[in-house]
C-alpha cells in the first residue's frame, strides 16, 4: 500500500462543489462516470456478463477509511447502482476468482482462488526521489513528470515488441504516477511466476538505499536488445531531463550522491576537488567532465573495474523506469481503477493515449469540482453520462477507442488455466 499524508493545496472557495464528499462523488458517479464503457472494458466486450466481470473483485473505500473488499456484481447495471449508492472515494480492481468474490466468506478456503487479472504496472514518482531534485514525495511538476514519459515509452515498447502484447492502456494515477493495464488474454492468464518474469525482465535498477550504484550490467546484459532499445530512448531524453532540468550535479550534496556510485576513489576525489573549486559549472559540463575522466581511466585500466560501463549504467540509473514490482508480481494485488477521483487531488484518473506520452499534462486533468461546475452550468437535467461534459470528452474518447479493441475471452468458463498461457503455441 502506498502512503501519502501531505495535504494537497487548498482549492478555491466555494459552493460545496470543491469538497470531495459523498454528495459530490454521488453526482460524479451519476452524471460523469463512463459506466457503459467501463462495463464493456471489464466484460471484454462480450454481450452477456461473463466471469471476467461477475467473478471480478472490486474493492471500495467509503467515508474515507472504511475498506470494503470482495465486492462483485452480476452485471454493469448492478455495478452502476452500487456505485451511486455507496459513492466510494476510491475504487480498486482486483483479480478474477474461481467464484463470485461476494461469496468468498462462505467458501472453503482453497476453493476461492484468483485465476486471472490484467498484467499491471505501477510507477510512482516517490521512487524517483533519489534522482529528482525539483519535488519530493507526493508533489509533481512539469519537470519531473517527464520521467513518466520516458517510463511509458520504454515499457510500452518492451511490452509490445518483446512480449507481443497489444492491448495496453496507460492511466494517470490521479496524483504522482501512472498505471499500466495490459489486457491481452495471454497477459491476464499469467501466474505469479510469469508476472515476476516480466517484471524482472523490465527491471534494471536493483539495490536498496545502501547501494550507490544500482545498475550493474555485464557486457552481455548490456547487449540485450531490450537494454539497447531502452538506451536509445534514454539518450534522447537524458541530457534534457537529468542534467538540464534536474541539474543533478549542481550542488556538492547532489554530486556527492552521484560520485558515490563511481567505483574509483581517485576519480571521486579528483572530481570532487575540481567541482568544489568551480561550483558554478553546469551539470552538463560536470557530467561530460566526469565521463571524460572515467573514459580516460578506463582506457588505461581495461574493462575490469566497472569504469567502461559506468556511463551507460549511470544514465539508466538516473532515468530508467522504476517499477513497484509487488503490484505487478501478485495476481491478487489491487490497483486503483481508471476514472476514479483521486481522494487527495480530486483529479480524475484518466487514460493516456499511446500518442500522448510526451504531451499528456497531469496538471490540466479535470478535477471533480471543475467537472461538477461545468455540468451544473450546462442546463442538462437529464443524466447523460460523460456526454454532458466537454472536459471529460477527450478522456472518455481515448478510453472508448481502447475498449473497442478488446474481444471476449476465448474460454472464459475454463479460466482455470493450463499454467502457461502460450504453452500450446507451436513454433
Amino acid at each position: 500500500m502506498t502512503s501519502d499524508h501531505e495535504d494537497t493545496s487548498a482549492m478555491a472557495v466555494d459552493d460545496g462543489l470543491d469538497e470531495i464528499s459523498p454528495v459530490t462523488l454521488g453526482l460524479y458517479y451519476q452524471r460523469l462516470f463512463p459506466h457503459e464503457l467501463y462495463y464493456k472494458w471489464l466484460n471484454y466486450n462480450a454481450k452477456a456478463p461473463t466471469n471476467d466481470f461477475t467473478h471480478r473483485e472490486f474493492s471500495f473505500t467509503i467515508n474515507g477509511d472504511v475498506y470494503l473488499r470482495y465486492q462483485s456484481f452480476n452485471d454493469g447495471a448492478e455495478f452502476q447502482r452500487e456505485l451511486q449508492k455507496l459513492s466510494p472515494n476510491k475504487i480498486d480492481i482486483g483479480a478474477i476468482f474461481t467464484a463470485q468474490p461476494k461469496y468468498a466468506k462462505t467458501l472453503q478456503p482453497g476453493v476461492f482462488k484468483a485465476v486471472s487479472k490484467e498484467l499491471v504496472f505501477d510507477i510512482d514518482m516517490t521512487d524517483y526521489d533519489e534522482v529528482r531534485t525539483c519535488c519530493r514525495g507526493g508533489d509533481i511538476c512539469n519537470k519531473c513528470w517527464k520521467f513518466m514519459a520516458v517510463a511509458m515509452h520504454i515499457l510500452d515498447k518492451a511490452l509490445r515488441e518483446d512480449f507481443g502484447f497489444e492491448k495496453i492502456m496507460w492511466v494517470y494515477s490521479g496524483r504522482r504516477g501512472v498505471h499500466c493495464w495490459v489486457c491481452d488474454e495471454r497477459a491476464r492468464k499469467l501466474d505469479d511466476t510469469g508476472r515476476k518474469a516480466v517484471a524482472g525482465y523490465l527491471t534494471l535498477i536493483r539495490g536498496g538505499a545502501e547501494q550507490g550504484k544500482k545498475v550493474n550490467l555485464s557486457q552481455r546484459a548490456a547487449s540485450h536488445p531490450h537494454v539497447k532499445r531502452s538506451m536509445d530512448i534514454v539518450e534522447d531524453y537524458f541530457e534534457d531531463i537529468v542534467l538540464v532540468d534536474q541539474e543533478v550535479l549542481l550542488t556538492k550534496e547532489r554530486w556527492t550522491k552521484i560520485l558515490s556510485a563511481l567505483p574509483d576513489e581517485e576519480l571521486r576525489k579528483m572530481l570532487d576537488a575540481r567541482w568544489s573549486k568551480h561550483p558554478n559549472m553546469s551539470s552538463v559540463d560536470k557530467w561530460s567532465e566526469m565521463i571524460d575522466a572515467v573514459d580516460k581511466k578506463a582506457a588505461k585500466r581495461g574493462s575490469k573495474f566497472g569504469l567502461s560501463t559506468f556511463e551507460h549504467d549511470m544514465m539508466l540509473q538516473l532515468i530508467y523506469p522504476r517499477l513497484d514490482e509487488n503490484v505487478t508480481t501478485h495476481l491478487g494485488h489491487l490497483l486503483k481503477s481508471p476514472f476514479c477521483i483521486h481522494p487527495k487531488t480530486g483529479r480524475v484518473c484518466t487514460p493516456i493515449g499511446a500518442d500522448q506520452f510526451d504531451s499528456y499534462d497531469p496538471m490540466s486533468v479535470p478535477t471533480l469540482s471543475q467537472l461538477l461546475r461545468e455540468v451544473n452550468s450546462s442546463s442538462a437535467s437529464q443524466s447523460n453520462g460523460a456526454k454532458d461534459s466537454t472536459l471529460m470528452t477527450e478522456h472518455v474518447a481515448i478510453f472508448e477507442k481502447f475498449v473497442a479493441t478488446l474481444s471476449p475471452s476465448t474460454n472464459e468458463h475454463a479460466v482455470n488455466g493450463s499454467g502457461s498461457g502460450g504453452g500450446s503455441l507451436d513454433f
Binding site: D129, G207, G208
Partner: protein, 492 residues
C-alpha cells in the same frame, strides 16, 4: 509405491534392463522421475537411501549459500554426490553395469521416499522442489550429450534448435550480438522459461523467448519443477492413506524433521520486551540488519512495507507483545496523526500478530529468507547488510560498531565472497569479544579495544536475526550462561 507384500523377482527389472543397456550406452543418468521404481526394498534400505539423498540436497543448498563462485559451488556438490549418491556411466558391461543399475535404483528410490517425506507441508515442499531442481541443473551440466538428449526428450523440449542463420533472420543483427556467433537457439513461449526471462538471459520477441543452447537446461528444469510440484501436491493428499503403515511413517516423519535446516526457535516470551526497551536493546544486541532498520526508522520516522515486516516480526519473536508493538510503531511514525496511523498502519501491525485477515501467526524471517527474498529497491532498508549494502557502506557500518580493523577487513571480505551468514557470525563473535572485555559497561559505551580477543569461543553459525540477538544476550552460549562463565570463556 514400494510394495513389501507382493514379492517380485528381486530387483529383476532393474538388472535386466541394465544388462540389456549395458552392452550399448548404459542406462540414462538423468531422470525426471516420472515413474516410481519397481521392485522390493526393506524399510532400512529406504531410510538409508533417503538419508544419503538428504545429505546431497543439504549440500546443494549449502553450496549455493556459501560457495565462492560457480566452480566452488560445483565442487561442493560433486563432493557430496560422490560420497552419498555416486553415479557411474555403467559402460563396459558386467560389473560396471550392475553397479550403475544399483546406483540408478538408489537414486530413484531415495527421490521417491523423500517426495513422501517432504510432501507434508508447504515449506517442506518448496524446499524440496528448490533443491531437487538445483541438483538436476547441476547434473545436467555435468552430463554428456547422450544423457542430455535423453533428458530433453523426456521433458518434451523441441528436438531441434534454430540454427544461427535462422535465428539471425528472425531476430536481426542487434539480437544476434547477444548470442554467440554460432550458437543455436530454442524458440519457446516466454512463460515456459520464467527464470531466464526474469534475468533477461534470453531475447524475447513477440512473446517468444529465444533460449541459448547453453541455457537449454532451464527448459528441462522448468518441466521438472512443474511436474515435481504437482506430484508433491498429489502426494500430500495421498499421505493420510499411509496412516496405518507403522513401518514407513516414523521414517518419513523423522526425515521431514531433519530436512531443511531447522528453523531457529526464538526464546523471547511475549512480554520479554517492551516498547521502551527496543531502542536500548537495539544498540546493545540487535544484529546489523535489525539495527539498521531500527536506526532508519528512527531517522526517517518511516519505514517501507518490507522493512516494517522484517523488523516487526523480529521484535515480535523477541518478545514484544501486540500492545507494545502498537505503542512502538505509533511512536516511530511520529509524523502522522493518530487517524492516519490507524488507517494506514495499525491494521498491518495487528495482521502480523495474527489478529486480522487470515489470522496466520507469522514467524520471524530467517537469514535465508532475508537474503534470498525480494532484494531492497530504491528507498528500501530491508535485507541483509552483508548482502545488500555496498562494500563501502558496510565497512562504514562496521567501523561504527567499533570493530577492530582486522575484523572489519575479515567481515567485509566474507560478505564480498557471498558468505553473508558467516560474516554475520564473525560480527557476532567480535561483539561478544567486545562485551567480554568490559562486562560492566553497556555495549554502547564500549571503547575500541587495544587487544581484541584473539580467539573468542566459537558460536554456532547465525541462521536468524533472533538467534543472533539471543546469542549475544547470553554470551554466545544459550540461556544457561552466567556472567562468570562468560569471563572464564573469555580468558586465554
Amino acid at each position: 509405491m514400494f510394495t513389501q507384500h507382493a514379492p517380485r523377482p528381486l530387483a529383476a527389472s532393474g538388472l535386466t534392463a541394465a544388462a540389456a543397456a549395458g552392452l550399448g550406452s548404459g542406462p540414462p543418468r538423468l531422470s525426471l522421475y516420472a515413474q516410481p521404481p519397481d521392485g522390493e526394498a526393506s524399510v532400512d534400505e529406504l531410510e538409508a537411501f533417503a538419508l544419503d539423498r538428504l545429505q546431497v540436497l543439504r549440500a546443494v543448498e549449502d553450496a549455493h549459500l556459501r560457495g565462492r563462485g560457480d566452480d566452488d559451488v560445483r565442487r561442493r556438490i560433486d563432493a557430496a554426490l560422490a560420497r552419498h549418491l555416486p553415479s557411474h556411466s555403467g559402460r563396459g558391461g558386467g560389473a560396471a553395469a550392475r553397479q550403475a543399475a544399483a546406483e540408478r535404483r538408489k537414486d530413484a528410490v531415495s527421490h521417491f521416499v523423500l517426495r513422501l517425506a517432504f510432501s507434508r507441508s508447504d515449506d517442506l515442499r518448496t524446499w524440496f522442489v528448490r533443491q531437487e531442481t538445483a541438483l538436476l541443473r547441476h547434473r545436467f551440466r555435468a552430463a554428456d550429450a547422450a544423457d542430455r538428449a535423453a533428458l530433453l526428450a523426456a521433458a518434451h523440449v523441441p528436438a531441434t534448435p534454430l540454427p544461427p542463420a535462422e535465428r539471425d533472420a528472425r531476430l536481426g543483427p542487434a539480437a544476434a550480438a547477444f548470442y554467440g556467433a554460432a550458437e543455436p537457439v530454442y524458440a519457446v513461449a516466454f512463460e515456459r522459461v520464467p527464470a531466464l526471462v526474469a534475468r533477461a538471459q534470453a531475447v524475447v520477441r513477440g512473446g517468444v523467448a529465444y533460449v541459448a543452447a547453453a541455457d537449454v537446461a532451464a527448459l528441462a528444469e522448468a518441466a521438472f519443477r512443474d511436474a515435481l510440484a504437482a506430484a508433491l501436491a498429489l502426494c500430500a493428499r495421498a499421505l493420510p492413506q499411509l496412516g496405518e503403515d507403522e513401518r514407513l511413517l516414523p521414517v518419513l516423519r523423522s526425515l521431514g524433521r531433519q530436512s531443511a535446516r531447522a528453523e531457529y526457535q526464538p526464546t523471547g516470551a511475549a512480554g520479554a520486551l517492551t516498547a521502551d526497551a527496543v531502542a536500548p536493546l537495539a544498540a546493545a544486541a540487535f544484529p546489523p540488519c535489525m539495527r539498521h532498520l531500527q536506526a532508519q526508522l528512527a531517522h526517517d520516522r518511516h519505514l517501507r512495507h518490507a522493512g516494517r515486516l522484517q523488523l516487526g516480526l523480529f521484535l515480535k519473536a523477541a518478545g514484544l507483545p501486540l500492545a507494545d508493538a502498537m505503542v512502538f510503531w505509533r511512536r516511530a511514525f511520529a509524523g502522522l496523526t493518530d487517524d492516519q496511523f490507524q488507517k494506514a498502519y495499525a491494521y498491518n501491525v495487528r495482521h502480523s500478530y495474527g489478529q486480522e485477515g487470515r489470522r496466520a501467526n507469522y514467524t520471524a524471517y530467517s537469514c535465508h529468507r532475508i537474503i534470498t527474498a525480494a532484494p531492497p529497491g530504491p528507498g528500501d532498508h530491508h535485507g541483509c547488510p552483508f548482502r545488500h549494502h555496498a562494500p563501502d557502506r558496510l565497512r562504514a557500518a562496521l567501523h561504527a560498531d567499533r570493530l577492530a580493523d582486522a575484523d572489519v577487513r575479515d567481515i567485509a571480505d566474507l560478505a564480498r565472497a557471498g558468505h553473508c551468514q558467516v560474516a554475520c557470525t564473525r560480527h557476532l563473535e567480535a561483539r561478544l569479544a567486545q562485551r567480554r572485555q568490559q562486562p560492566q559497561q553497556p555495549a554502547s559505551a564500549t571503547l575500541p579495544q587495544p587487544q581484541p580477543q584473539p580467539d573468542p569461543a566459537p558460536v554456532p553459525p547465525v541462521t536468524s536475526p533472533n538467534q543472533y540477538l539471543d546469542l549475544l544476550l547470553t554470551d554466545g552460549r544459550g540461556a544457561r550462561a552466567s556472567p562468570a562463565d562468560a569471563v572464564l570463556a573469555g580468558a586465554p
